[in-house]
Amino acid sequence: MSASNLKIENLHVSIEGKEIIKGLDLEINGGEIHAVMGPNGTGKSTLASAIMGHPKYEITEGTVTIDGKDLLEMEVDERAKAGLFLAMQYPSEVSGVTNADFLRTSINARREEGDEISLMKFIKKMDEKMAALGMGEEFSQRYLNEGFSGGEKKRNEILQLMMLEPKIAILDEIDSGLDIDALKVVSQGVNSMRSPEFGCLIITHYQRLLNYITPDKVHVIMQGRIVKSGGAELAQRLEAEGYDWIKEELGIEDETVGQEA
């Protein structure tokens, strides 16, 4: 199995003509967990959505590859099949489609016709993962995210992550709106994925999550690019001191996009 690798070079992303990401470089390898932190409005979620292929975001410059293959040439479903996963901040609700049907369809989309996962095997795996996430059995037959609370939706994203076993996962603010117990459960789920074949990019603006999932690298994003990188200790300093010292260090007055000097 080839080592997992996501490589972002000089990425520029616009939404409705406005540039949000302005030349961002980042490389994630299997076995690594990266955290991208930053205040609101700095382009964190845009980065996540654009890489997955969100229809509203336009990539104007730069390259993104997964295992050396050009990600930006691919349709959204092809990106997923190439090994990319995005746990979304606001997952859609789909009425009339059960969680179980959705997941089974997703798994089988990666497999050849005639090689579909057996129903028994699927149910066993799903039961196991749901139990690990403290999700009641009824969730498999509920319609996809419909009427789920915020915390239930986040767990459901992690359930999908654990079922689909991607090479590279981006978790977009998976911690927002979670109470401490739910946060622990979700973190355990992510930690259980750790392996040399699995790389992960965690997007958050709370350091709290990183108490449970220790990142190998921490990046600070401001004005649509990475302005500082470090190890786990960087997150701790941000928690203790906030972002002002970085702004001072770099001479940034307003960290949000479009406010650069």
Partner: protein, 435 residues
């Protein structure tokens, strides 16, 4: 409006058609009267749908077809529609308008249940048929198509359930248009006497290609006091068939009608579904699903008239429009003066899958009584791009995601169709249309 008055069929043709079939005098006279009326009457005017270019003239009327000796002679996909075990026992099969097979259990026969083709009914139960045929339900002179229907009726089913008889198994009718050019003028009459109960399930389908034809169908359902009729249908005519279908029910005191309609034609369609809640405490439940595709145009009207006090109606319509299909959905709840404590509710939802698809849902409440409750909801929207993005981000292709969204959108109606056979058949037809 100027009316094209030339008809393809004359008195002589109709007289011979009726006499060849040895129909009773009253029916022949009714046909001749209707033929006269047809030349005078205007075409129906479905709201917001122009039908002046639709084919209502090109079809073969007098079509013969072979009987089938056993159900094994039916093509596989049609045979699969026939219920299993005891449900298979009660069946009428029409092939190219003509009765090809029928079967009714001894048990039901002994209880006085009549379930036969309309031609046989006109001979064996002439008085009964005459009482109900286009008298209190659909009138001959509503417009040209109802008149033409009466003049040219060439198939149909008569179902009669006597007082206090509870028919526990569904009775099934298959209308199979094997000849793509055969015009179907099908007439269904269901009479459920007081305190009886029956479920009737029909499937219309045409095998064959895009050759032009016409289906002009009328169903009349009479629900007696405290009786219940569950009426399920899956209409599935091919692209070349222009369909006019009028289903109508009159419901007596404490009676109940349940309509479960899978309206899955591939050709242009006018569907007019009307329920009269005549008796106090009568109720109606209507559920319909539709998938439009290609460039077909359809007009669906669901109308409930509340005459009785404490009468109750619920209407749930879900439609999906693909490609450049367009449909108008009109839901009309009319509460007449004096229908105190009536309750009427309707919901119509339309999902459009493409830029060129069109859907229009018009909820209309007409209320001439103060002491009532009525509500409506309607929505028309395009498929949610974020939903598609979300599903595709898990590796599901766009086509598959759309398929899931469509099934999901229709599921609240499909899963709730009270007749299992209709539910299954509707799901199969939907699957074929969304793939």
């Amino acid at each position: 409006m100027s009316v094209e008055t030339k008809l393809e069929f004359d008195q002589e043709y109709v007289r011979k058609f009726s006499q060849d079939r040895q129909e009773p005098e009253w029916l022949l006279n009714l046909r001749l009267k209707a033929l006269d009326a047809a030349s005078e009457l205007p075409m129906p005017k479905p709201e917001k749908t122009k039908i002046d270019k639709w084919n209502f003239n090109s079809y073969k009327h007098d079509v013969s077809a072979q009987e089938i000796k056993s159900l094994d002679e039916l093509p596989e996909d049609i045979k699969s529609l026939v219920g299993k075990d005891e449900q298979a026992g009660n069946l009428v099969v029409h092939r190219n308008t003509t009765l090809a097979f029928k079967q009714l259990s001894d048990d039901l026969r002994e209880k006085g249940v009549i379930f036969t083709d309309i031609l046989t009914a006109s001979k064996e139960y002439s008085d009964l048929l005459e009482k109900y045929f286009m008298t209190e339900g659909v009138k001959i002179d509503e417009h040209r198509l109802t008149a033409l229907h009466a003049a040219l009726m060439n198939g149909g089913t008569f179902l009669y359930v006597p007082k206090n008889v509870d028919v526990e198994v569904p009775l099934q009718a298959l209308y199979w248009q094997e000849d793509a050019e055969a015009g179907l003028f099908n007439h269904v009459i269901i009479v459920a006497e007081d305190n009886s109960r029956v479920t009737y399930v029909e499937n219309y389908f045409s095998t064959g290609d895009d050759k032009e034809s016409v289906a002009n169908i009328i169903a009349e359902v009479f629900v007696g006091q405290n009786a219940k009729v569950s009426y399920g249908s899956v209409d599935n005519f091919a692209k070349g068939v222009t369909t006019f279908i009028s289903r109508r029910s009159r419901v007596s005191r404490d009676g109940r009608i349940e309509w479960s309609l899978g309206q899955m034609n591939d050709g242009n369609t006018i569907s007019d579904n009307i329920t009269h809640l005549d008796g106090n405490g009568s109720t109606a439940e209507t559920k319909t699903v539709t998938v439009g595709r290609g460039d077909q145009k359809q007009n669906f009207v669901n109308r409930v008239f509340h005459h009785g006090q404490n009468s109750e109606s619920n209407l749930l319509v879900h439609g999906v429009m693909k490609d450049s299909a367009s449909s108008i959905f009109n839901g009309i709840t009319k509460i007449e003066h004096g229908a105190k404590k009536a309750f009427g509710d309707q919901t119509q939802r339309v999902l459009m899958m493409s830029e060129k698809a069109r859907g229009d849902a018009n909820p209309i409440l007409l209320i001439d009584e103060d002491d009532v409750m009525a509500g409506h909801a309607a929505s028309v929207g395009k498929v949610d791009q974020l939903q598609l993005f979300y599903m595709m981000s898990r590796g599901i292709s766009r086509a598959e995601a759309e398929r899931l969204i469509i099934h999901g959108f229709l599921a609240p109606v499909v899963n709730d169709l009270p007749i299992e056979g209709v539910q299954k058949r509707a799901t199969e037809v939907i699957e074929r249309k969304v793939r």
